[in-house]
């Protein structure tokens, strides 16, 4: 990690320094593996020799998170729940079963719990002790979710954190913060915005972003809704 980042751990990204984060300094020596890359390679090849890991495992895991396991799964659940009150009830009662009901696999050894936003109550999710996250329906978490600023402040000053992430909540809305400290993984079911009457499941899923399901955003209608 370059010196200008030493005081500044895995948070505080901006467009200028994003390329340098997470590669342990490789950006300054593009041809030589960084210390962290070398350690990873050493462990990887030893575990392959020991038949604990294969290179296909690595390809499979990377590809799964890059293509198959992501917020589109959560968005599908939300859109279905908006359209089908019976499905909504099942999702809130037994989320893993509701995930399977839509044709997805559910291998996680942690239990998904879906928390519905309601008029006057907004929910958001954090893990102050590590970075627990509903990866089975949202994919891997963004860096800000795993960062010290979010983990330290989401529980104590959620309104300030939401404002920094672009969500201004009206004063009369109460916030419930879910600090995920056990083997439960929380996902927020956002409220369906007005103006989406008659939309298809696919159209609805498009406005359900990852951040809406972490609880740091609300679904937004496209600016030119009349021309969609």
């Amino acid at each position: 990690m370059s010196d200008q980042h030493r005081h500044d751990p895995d948070q505080s990204y901006n467009e200028n320094d994003a390329h340098d984060h997470g590669n342990g300094g490789g950006a300054h020596h593009p041809d030589a593996p960084s210390e962290i890359e070398a350690r990873t390679l050493a462990l990887e090849s030893l575990l392959i020799e020991k038949r604990i890991l294969t290179s296909e495992d690595v390809d499979r895991v990377v590809s799964a998170y890059e293509h198959d396991i992501g917020p589109m799964i959560g968005a599908h659940l939300v859109a279905r729940a908006w359209l089908d009150p019976g499905y909504r009830r099942r999702l809130l009662k037994d989320a893993p079963a509701a995930v399977r009901e839509l044709g997805y696999e559910y291998h996680a050894d942690t239990r998904l719990v879906v928390i519905p936003n309601q008029p006057g109550i907004h929910n958001m999710v954090v893990c102050t002790l590590c970075s627990c996250y509903p990866w089975m329906v949202l994919g891997l978490p963004p860096t800000w979710y795993k960062s010290a600023p979010y983990r330290s402040r989401a529980v104590s000053e959620p309104r300030a954190v939401l404002a920094e992430l672009g969500l201004q909540l009206p004063d009369e809305v109460a916030i419930n913060v879910w600090d995920s400290s056990a083997e439960l993984r929380y996902m927020v079911l956002p409220e369906r915005p007005a103006g989406t009457e008659g939309w298809t499941e696919e159209e609805l899923a498009k406005i359900v972003t990852r951040d809406c399901m972490i609880g740091v955003a609300r679904p937004q209608l496209p600016a030119l809704v009349g021309t969609r």
């Binding site: 490789g26 462990l43 030893l46 891997l140 529980v155 916030i175 056990a182 439960l184």
Partner: protein, 209 residues
């Protein structure tokens, strides 16, 4: 044991600055991050449990923990726990050649026992003021605080035991709801709440006022 009340327990701390989102963030910033993730997925639950993994990460020196990126912490924790469990040795890593066969993977854990919960939804409870020498999942900001049982989730192994390789200590686990003002004082907004998953031994019935 070291690192009692470690820096990983961040809830309520000040001084880390604003939350800044990276635009168009990739899933992995570099190939090695995906490799670390894959190594974790192939070894977690077979050679160590998730609480042992967290415990090892929490043993990182505080300054290193704060400096390291997420997957740097993971790599540190995986290297450390695989060495502690005898899956790899420092010599093997240095030589790049295996010398010992790895231990047998753990068998599948038992299903949770059926336990009668001590508390029911709506019960008023207080968290104990625990400061254990080892791992715990009772965050520092929620110790000695009054809350209300919201949901009983069934039984889970207590991380405080599981992280240290002891026999599973199954206990009922609950979502416990706290008024934000109970946790943070009068500056918190009335009506705001924090819900935390807590094991039964972290809790006692609220003492009568």
């Amino acid at each position: 044991m070291v690192n009692v009340n470690g820096v990983h327990d961040m809830g309520g701390m000040h001084g880390f600055g604003p939350v800044i989102a990276e635009r168009a963030e990739p899933v992995f910033h570099a190939r090695w991050e995906g490799t670390v993730r894959a190594i974790f997925e192939r070894t977690n639950g077979r050679y160590f449990n998730i609480d042992e993994f967290r415990r090892v990460m929490e043993r990182m020196p505080a300054d290193a923990y704060l400096r390291a990126s997420y997957y740097e912490k993971w790599l540190y924790a995986i290297e450390t726990i695989l060495k502690e469990k005898g899956v790899v040795t420092a010599d093997e890593l240095a030589a790049g050649q295996p010398s010992l066969p790895p231990p047998s993977p753990a068998r599948k854990p038992d299903p949770p026992p059926r336990q009668t919960p001590r508390f029911n939804a709506g019960d008023r409870v207080a968290t104990r003021n625990l400061n254990p020498k080892g791992h715990t999942r009772l965050p520092r900001y929620a110790r000695g605080k009054r809350g209300v049982i919201r949901t009983h989730y069934g039984s889970f192994p207590l991380p405080d035991s599981n992280a240290h390789g002891r026999e599973p200590d199954w206990q009922p686990c609950y979502a416990v709801e706290f008024d934000a003002r109970e946790l943070w004082g009068t500056e918190a907004k009335p009506g705001d709440r924090v819900c935390i998953d807590l094991w039964e031994s972290y809790l006692e019935p609220e003492a009568p006022a």
